[in-house]
Symmetry: D2
Subunit: 371 residues, 4 copies
């Protein structure tokens, strides 16, 4: 059951038909979940901006770094040229270089790229090492190719799938989440879609309800309880990093609005504002990154074109898109939590949020499912 | 009545004794409220890091830009050198250059600065032009000097005072707010103080309660209502910019933790996460800036010293400070709203949030004053 | 006599007809030189991008910071919105806030701006305090208005005029310089113009000839001579900051190529490469800034437009513009030195480079005036 | 024969004993040159900051991006935390992800890192695809391990070795170069060392002598000749990218001065000023990056330390280090050109600069070997 079904519907704008990043026409998402024995629980999620020649028919793109403790690939070229020339992948921290190599190979192997000698794969990661035997480092290349092959439009699987297989949020099972917003026609009618790989912590709040504190599991809990002289709660973390809210969050934004890299970067910054509303304060160890791109055909560019003619939204017209990003990010993160399923390895088991308890807590605050 | 008195006490850490930026020892704040006839309603607020020679005994400092639609003075040198050499002032948009000139003059006139030929005043602003006859541009230099002279430790006046005299938040009267957090001893025992000049909009939420929607006044309201086919609410804005959440928010952070500019900048980024929790998505026209400095004597530096020996917190030790910044910023912004008093000019009158209604709304969600 | 006349013609591209920033059609430059008694020697230089309504018919623009020790006004909004809404002014360090205030007033006073309540003046400065009695702080507002009124196309006065009145370069008199490049038609035929306010130091080289060392005046000279055990030269500096190459350099670039802020910022970075070729290594105390804008009608934008349609050069087409920026900046800086005239105040007299000696030194290396 | 032997000794400071990055005590460099059949000519160069536990005894570090067209790994974490936790590798563009993976594995495999689950390899690249059959993508992991194992102090091999095996500069064979400067005792006596992987173009100048033009091979030559109506020269390029100066330049700086990330980043920016003096204007396709670190024991930090006590040079004391960086970078780049040896593959042969011709050209301008 997605967040919206229990009344977590942040903001003022309405979602698109799938309430997913794929509501932005042309965007496809593919997952490949990797399981090995009782130790490896990881995966790959691919986001493909459009169905054409990504290398030659480039989408403008930008990166916003909320907190840069992470290994994100493709950073400087994405920023310098303001564009994507590959799909975006999400995976596990220690998988990232193999994933980048595989994505490069995937692009180089396309017949139309037979003469390409430079490619800039963009790959993000979060550290699923609490559950996943990340140091085992099984090859991830095959999973990359399958995630790319799996990519589809329409509904997007959420929770403990793909790159969200082994992730943890606020001490509960996290994963992939997605959401979208469609602006009213009077604000342009554009769609904004967000997908997240949630693997972070903090003091969980949902629609402002302090769920983490109410359930007895939140960052700095031990220190706070010790300082208050109260007996330690039962819900604590087993891990000092988690105790401080560590982890990471990868966020990818797509829009069909005609926006170039400068304003895409500004959209990226607003995703962190959605992240904040879930109770993150971006701990030191968190790698919080936002990649944003526009699929509008009116802003595509070819590397060979000396001159392109683009449409571009005026700066004033961006505010509604900013609001949409904040809303959709917050909701995607709730989905990542609420759609997650338990995952066990020999390192332990991580359960999802107790949904019934959450529903009760929300209802007590007047937040309930729409009729 | 401050926010905390009606149950708005964000986060897990406790405030300092004044719940104000002045809980960071040595920091002083001065306001000067400027009123002229029935049109000018503006002012100046000064934040002074310590009582010594600010030019020679410099504090490390940093700037985080949430959204750069603003005229902030002193940007590049603050960043390049990672330090403050003057107090920080807040004022109105069209006052800023005169305020910068007056602050430069104030510094140059000090006997110990008789040979100084370069000074970098740091002055922020928000646009109080909805209420204030900002184009009248009465001289602001005298107010600058009085704000500096007024600066004091202890309790800090909030609401429609100083640089908050004419500001508006979410369509209600805004102003100055302040808050602090003191970390548990096990996390270092450091204090973080925040002061804000709130003049922005969005979809107001308090502790997650959608107060703006419940009271019928929020950004994009007309477009949302039109799209939903509902009759327009009564609470709307008179101003297209406000309708989109425009405005600005200046935030100043002080801490006694030994932190240099790199980590101070990271603290600044977390203030925007607190801002986000009040319902801002940083509209295009918003100038959202955070200036952070450390008062720790163990990080002071002299411009004449070839070598200094500093203490510096490790990166991992920053997470609790990040959390404290997010909490204190959110609370300071609630105070800015709740402590504001009505202000009228010939351009109209802006009332504060109806506190009783807010209290009722919060109580309905289980948020109530501490006993 | 300009640099080109003695063989200093850096690079491979040809200059425009005036070899000045005004070769970019529509750009005008105005100087106002300020002299008071035997102590004040400063001024203002205005660069006006086009003859229309600058506030509503905005030019895309960008800022590159080479070294941020300076007080530049308008930084964050220029970057956030990627555009200029006022002329650019250059002046003296302690003049800058008054100049910003005067430029704001100039814009607000225009009839078409009667309802404007926010304006972002962009003003740069260098510290002419070695010659100029900068602490005297005579009002600069009148000079601002005259510089704006003086602005004209065509030939641009160089040397000890306007904002270059009191500046010093490498221990010799500096000032204003300008140059341009016109790309071959096969590279687009675009024009790049540069104007500089030179007030910096280092180890002067001209076309690679170590003029500073040959004339016995260069940064770190005393330390180098002491270390080498040679007797100190006669040419040294009277000032510890100059001895380390301190000072600043403001650079403004105009182009008629259709380029938006992202690529304008990249052009700005190449101006520092031209600066480097004159012997600067951007000392700590140097404020080295580059502001770049495009005058192409195909990239103008109105603040009221929801959508604009722009042309934009492809990234690959930028390389020739980068080369042009580097060449024109280097030449503009030579002009600033070679066109300067002596300036005296009661603080002393600063002479220009001994042109005849320079010519001889250059000729000895095979660099001579074109026939 | 190194550059200095033919009179190319840029600047005012003296080199260290090896005139190499290894003059910074503790720094080691290792090369592994990779040759396969008649097509693969690439390699790896490793720079190791010190001989201890790099993961726990971290060096402060920074990145400056001159032009971000490149795939550099480790960008955001290096910047966020201001430190290195691995050696730095240089390699070929399409090798970089495998090299990153191998470097991660190398670090994870160390016994002391048995519990490490996150590592941030920093790997740079330039595109040697003109000579090297870069699309063949033979595994590079073994070469990474050998380069790390080969690392040594003392003399550093230059030219067509390691990561410089297949690189091209200005249309001639490029490669690895290195140089150093030791400041006079009166300026602190610190050492700055630079190593470069040169693979870029432009309008080659050496000590300002326009060697590229004199030898008839420079960027934009065809366009310039066509525009001038002169018959095309014989020296042109076979490649449109090279014709525009494309390529890349990786620069690594080490110093024993106690400098933290903020000032290390400023040092990095000055390396681009040295690059500029060789005739680069950083073409669109160039990836020009500078990584700088300090080996001073007084600035080391452990990831586990809550608090560290550091020495830090004052900002004013940085100017001499900036000058040293600019000088050493320029010289290292000359070495990269002059020490290169011819490399042939079935894609063709690239010859080094004709050294005798260069010597003659320099001598004609009065630049000659020291006696």
């Amino acid at each position: 059951q997605r967040a919206r079904a229990i009344g977590l519907a942040p903001g003022v704008f309405a979602p698109g038909p799938n309430n997913a990043i794929t509501d932005v026409a042309g965007v496809r998402v593919g997952h490949e979940t990797v399981t090995l024995g009782d130790s490896v629980r990881t995966g790959v999620t691919a986001i493909i901006p459009h169905g054409g020649d990504l290398y030659r028919d480039r989408v403008p793109a930008a990166l916003h770094v909320g907190n840069g403790f992470g290994k994100l690939l493709g950073v400087t070229q994405l920023r310098e040229l303001g564009e994507l020339e590959t799909p975006v992948l999400l995976t596990c921290t220690l998988c990232i270089w193999q994933a980048g190599d595989a994505l490069a190979q995937y692009m180089l192997a396309k017949p139309e790229n037979a003469n390409v000698r430079s490619i800039n794969p963009v790959v993000g990661e979060t550290n699923d090492g609490q559950l996943n035997a990340t140091r085992a480092r099984p090859g991830i290349a095959a999973a990359v190719n399958r995630a790319l092959a799996n990519a589809d439009s329409g509904r997007v699987a959420e929770g403990s799938v793909g790159a969200g297989h082994g992730t943890v949020m606020f001490g509960w099972k996290g994963g992939i989440g997605t959401s979208s917003r469609k602006l009213p026609a009077s604000l342009g009618g554009y769609t904004v879609g967000v997908i997240v790989q949630g693997n972070y912590g903090g003091v969980l709040q949902m629609a402002g309800v302090p769920v983490g504190q109410l359930l007895g599991r939140y960052a700095f809990q031990r220190d706070v309880e010790r300082a208050a002289g109260t007996p330690p709660g039962a819900g604590g973390f087993g891990d000092a990093g988690a105790e401080q809210g560590d982890g990471s969050c990868m966020i990818v934004i797509a829009t069909d609005a005609p926006v170039l890299s400068r304003n895409l970067e500004r959209m990226g910054a607003r995703a962190v504002m959605g992240l904040a509303r879930t109770g993150s304060s971006a701990s030191n160890g968190s790698g919080d990154y936002v990649i944003a791109f526009s699929t509008s055909p009116r802003v595509r560019r070819s590397p060979d074109a000396t001159l392109s003619t683009n449409d571009e939204l005026g700066n004033e017209a961006m505010s509604a898109l900013f609001q949409a990003v904040t809303e959709a990010t917050e909701e995607a993160l709730y989905d990542a939590l609420l759609m997650a399923t338990p995952v066990s390895t020999r390192a332990g088991r991580v359960n999802p949020l107790p949904r019934d308890s959450v529903r009760v807590l929300l209802q007590a605050r007047g937040i309930r499912a729409p009729r």
